[in-house]
Structures are given as structure tokens and as C-alpha cells.
Symmetry: C2
Subunit: 213 residues, 2 copies
Amino acid sequence: MSDTKNTPAPAPIPGANKVPKTERGRRTLRALLNAAAEEFGEKGFHDAAISQITARAGVATGSFYVYFDSKEAIFQALVRDLSGQVKDFVAPRIAAAPDQIAAEQAGQLAYLEFVRQHKEIYRIIDESEFVDPAAYREHYTKSATRIAARLQSAMERGEISEGDCEVRAWALMGINVFLGLRYGVWGDEAPEDVVREAGRFITEGLARREEKP
Amino acid sequence: MSDTKNTPAPAPIPGANKVPKTERGRRTLRALLNAAAEEFGEKGFHDAAISQITARAGVATGSFYVYFDSKEAIFQALVRDLSGQVKDFVAPRIAAAPDQIAAEQAGQLAYLEFVRQHKEIYRIIDESEFVDPAAYREHYTKSATRIAARLQSAMERGEISEGDCEVRAWALMGINVFLGLRYGVWGDEAPEDVVREAGRFITEGLARREEKP
């Protein structure tokens, strides 16, 4: 799994005017993004207000404009920040798995746990389709590219069957997103049970296993 | 497949004030819904206008208000109408398949073909999450319930492996929706190739098939 173990250093956030250089600046930017996730998640883009974001974050309005020019700019930064948060939460669990089949199941469980704790992520990513279509497309295209790359490596190592890794990446992403919607955002079934069932499907498909005679 | 063969008669459209009793009325309602799909698909809910819907449909404004009270009402009707159109397009192809594994692949190919011809469906269904959350949830919950029921029957007939049919239904729906987004709305790869690859994944999963020694 060495190809997935290199976690990149935190990158500048697209949409933000500048990268904070001090610890205090980093805390302010983080507080603004967390507050934006709450505000956009609860109210949606159109009803969200910069004044409410700064109030939730406990920072002055001036601090907002140090980092962002507009409500659109912080929304754009938030979509990329949430994408990055999912990746950072899930990647170490994938990297720690002994093989790719186990890795996909570990990734799925981690994703479901993340969604449980951040239910607002669905509303925000989904709304980006309308507020910032490029960010929406980038979120899914980047995720699929990441999944396809790890499937391709696993296929070359002989850990999974031969097949088109891009198609299977989009299929796996679809499974994760819809199980996350059903069992993370809408329902509260035990994620382990859901992932065990889904893992069996991802591993063996729907085909009936022939009993030994 | 007898359990999936009963296609219900056209139901009254929720959101519409009345069911047309004449052929002319049915044509007007259909023209309004088709025009609404174009208008909402191109402009989104907020920028869409009733006057543009009636102009596209070639009907008088008064005719609009025979069937709908508002832009919200026709949007709500449209989401349910599109749900029904997908179902009506896909169901016969599923019913004609010799077994459930073939049925899921036939359904997936039919869905991808439908999306190619109706790319606006994604924007409209996705926007319903914000304009009419109940319609959004109903769209996916009803689809998953339908898929789970046919998997359950197939499991009882011994055509697919044992497993939780609800989890597998949401997984299959996720695969269809995301392959539809990638290869139906965004890309133009041959749907047969995509579905053949996806079908192999759905049938056999990622596990490596052991070669006979």
C-alpha cells in the first residue's frame, strides 16, 4: 500500500485570498470554515449570511475579509476543504488495511463514520452543483481518480480481479455516497452492519456461490 | 420475474390540480411537463419562469393554471413525472431479462440510455433536494424499495446470493446514479462497454477469481 501512504502536506485553500502564516491565523481560518459548514449546512447558500458565519466563528468581520472576498469565495473554499477533510479522514484507514479488498471496506466504514459526524456535508456538496459547478465536478472527479489509481495498483499487485478501474471507481464511489445518504444522513443503523453487508457485495457481487456437492 | 411485470396504470400526478379527462387535456399537461423539464433543466428553479414554460409548451397562460397553482407545484409534479418516466423506461427491460443478474445489467443499460436522452434529469432531481426535499427523498426511497423488492424475490428464487437486500439496493442505485452522471451526463463512452464492465463488478465483485491449477 506504499503508493497510498504519502499524505500530502496541507495545501493552500482555493478560494481563500491567503495562506495564514501564524498559528492564530490558522485558527481563525479554521474557525471561519467550520462556521461556514454550519451556516451553509443549516440554511443553504442563499439564506446564509457572512455576518452569521463570523458570529458563529467568534471573529470580527474584518478577519473574514482577510481571507475571503465574498460568500461565494468561502463557499468555494468550503467545498474543497470538506473534500480534503473526507480524504484526510479516510486515507489512513485505507493505507492501514492489509490488502485492497480490506482497504475498500475500511474506507467505506471510515466514510460512513465521517458522514455521521458531518451530516451537513451532503447538503453543501450537493448545493455546489448549483452555486459552483466546477467545484462539484472537481470533488467527484478527483475522488474517482484517487480510487481508480489505488484499484489499478491493486490490480497490478494481483489483489483484485482484472477490469476497468475507472468504471469500478465510479461504481464504488456511488455505493459510498448512497450508503452514506441512506445510513449516515437519514438513518442510524450500526455502520459496521451496513459495511459488512456492502463489503460482501463489493467483494463477491450478486452471483450465487455454488455449494460444494 | 412475474412480480415485476405488473406495470401500474398512469396515476394522477401529485402537484397537479386535476387529471385531464380528454386527449387534448392530456396533451396539454404533457406539453407543460416537457417544457418544464427544458426550462428547469436549463435555468434552474429560481431563474425559470412560468411564462417561459407556457411559451415553450405553446399553450396559453390560463391552461397552466388549470393544472398548476405555481412554479413550485409544477416543479414538484415534474420530479414525480421524471421518476415515473425512468421507471416506465427501465421496468420492461428488467422484466424481459431471463434472470435477476441479467435484469440488473439490462436495467443499468436502460438507465444509462435514458440519461443520455434526458441529461436535464440530474439537475432537476438534484435541485429538488433544495426546492422540495420531500420529493427528493421520495424519489430515491421509492427507487430503492423497488430494487430491494426485486432482489428479495430473486434471492428467494435462488438467483442471487443471500444478503441484505436493502443495503444492496442502495448500493446498486448508487452505482447507477454515479455511472449515469459520469458516462451519461458528462461523458459519451459507449454505454454497452460501461455496462459490461459494471455488470462484471455487480456480478462478481472485486475478488480475484482463482485460476484452476
